[in-house]
Amino acid sequence: MKAKLMMGGVLALASTCLFAAGSESVVAARLKTDFHTKGIAKVERLDQDPVQILCSTPDLDSVPQAQQFALEKQQRAEIKYPADGKYLGDWKKGEILAQDGRGNTWSDTPETPIGGNCYNCHRISPQEISFGTIGPSLYQYGKKKGYTEARQKEAYGRIYNSKAFNLCAPMPRFGHVGALTEAQIKDLVALLLDPESPVNK
């Protein structure tokens, strides 16, 4: 990415003076002046946590590895795995949830169910041909990766908080931010790892 971004001399100023006095960056302060709350999308959403701050760079290769690993470790420690030790829910419910792209925009209401948005970025069941490609294909996920409990737990963790495994990945932290419940994440794990799911047919 670095090479791509070397456009002309305009970038000479890049990455200087990111931070003003105090801890808030100049860009954060500017955004907070220029944006306003609309419906459920409150202006406080512009506040960044340490993961977001570290990953807001045009050049992800420049993120110091030690810092990246430390934050991943901390994010992993915050994952709440199911107390009953069971990871597989109902793949049919998982499919409906994966299809649903609603929720969390200012045109949604507090009552709008929050969808998984999964098809926005992933190929999943082969019947659904309208899928995005920001993330890898999850078709045949179980068939390829195996159906072990360790796999189930890993999938649960990645859906709960993808950043715990790859800090600056584009995928949201669905469990970490409370967008999806434990039961919903189990349904999604089943969609990917139940041998009966269309994903593995």
Binding site: R30, Q52, G101, N104
Partner: protein
């Protein structure tokens, strides 16, 4: 312009309803088919005509037209102006994009109130936006011209830098930034192609095809609208219309598009 206006009202109102969404095709491919149906035309031309008339009409408390408005190339020069925006304006001592600049002119020349003008800049099915019509007219006058956004002034440099930082700023419930969706080649969300706005080729193609007529909405949409709706999808709060942040982001994207031929107004899904 007149010759290209031979689009029957029937076709214009046909919209997406008349399009068969064939399976497996991206939205971009479907739009190409729609374009072919229209021949050389673009319903945006109807908005361009409205805007051209509005530009010349005496309006506002000062009962003046916009014909003395300076869009950067001198008072009243519309031809080619959009291809060189956003830019620094000495009179306002600010970098302005087209929409901010039009408001500056409407305030200065016509006596309108800026806050009032910013209240409802985007049209709906039941509300026609003067701003969008004016935008359609002005951008149409840069069709076929090379993008040449100036970058020499310190405030232009600062706007570019701020815009770039905003582009990569991750926040909100899903940790999205513009780059989450627009920093990969050939990526899609569902069936919608996502331009890679960090590459010259990607940003050139995207930027020079906006503002645009949106078939799914049967409305003409300005660049401020495009940013506004992407911030919505980003799960951000709403950017204030023509605020410094949105102008800076536009400066970043427009500068990245420099050298390409401006093709707008475009036609989109």
């Amino acid at each position: 312009m007149k010759g290209r206006l031979l689009i029957s009202a029937a076709v214009v109102s046909l919209g997406m309803a008349g399009m068969a969404w064939s399976q497996g095709n991206s939205a971009t491919a479907e739009i190409e088919k729609y374009r072919e149906m229209l021949g050389d035309g673009n319903p945006a031309e109807l908005f361009e005509m409205d805007g051209e008339a509005l530009w010349a009409t005496a309006r506002g408390p000062k009962n003046a037209s916009l014909q003395k408005c300076d869009l950067g190339l001198g008072a009243g020069v519309v031809k080619g102006a959009y291809a060189q925006m956003p830019r620094y304006f000495a009179d306002s001592d600010k970098v302005e994009d087209l929409e901010s600049r039009l408001m500056t002119c409407m305030v200065k020349l016509q006596g309108f109130d800026r806050a009032e003008l910013s209240k409802k800049p985007f049209g709906t099915a039941n509300y026609k936006s003067d701003m969008e019509a004016l935008v359609a007219y002005v951008v149409g006058q840069s069709r076929g011209m090379p993008m040449a956004v100036p970058t020499a002034h310190p405030k232009e440099k600062a706007a570019f830098e701020l815009g770039k930082q905003i582009f990569f700023y991750r926040a909100g419930p899903y940790d999205f930034s513009c780059a989450t969706c627009h920093a990969m080649t050939d990526a899609r969300i569902r069936m919608q192609d996502l331009p890679d706005l960090t590459s010259p080729a990607g940003s050139q193609r995207a930027y020079t095809s906006w503002p645009a007529y949106r078939v799914s909405q049967s409305l003409f949409r300005s660049f401020q609208w495009r940013l506004n709706d992407c911030f919505r999808q980003q799960r951000f709060p709403e950017p204030t219309y023509a605020s410094e942040s949105t102008i800076a982001l536009t400066s970043y994207l427009a500068t990245m598009a420099n050298g390409a031929t401006y093709q707008g107004p475009g036609i989109k899904r």
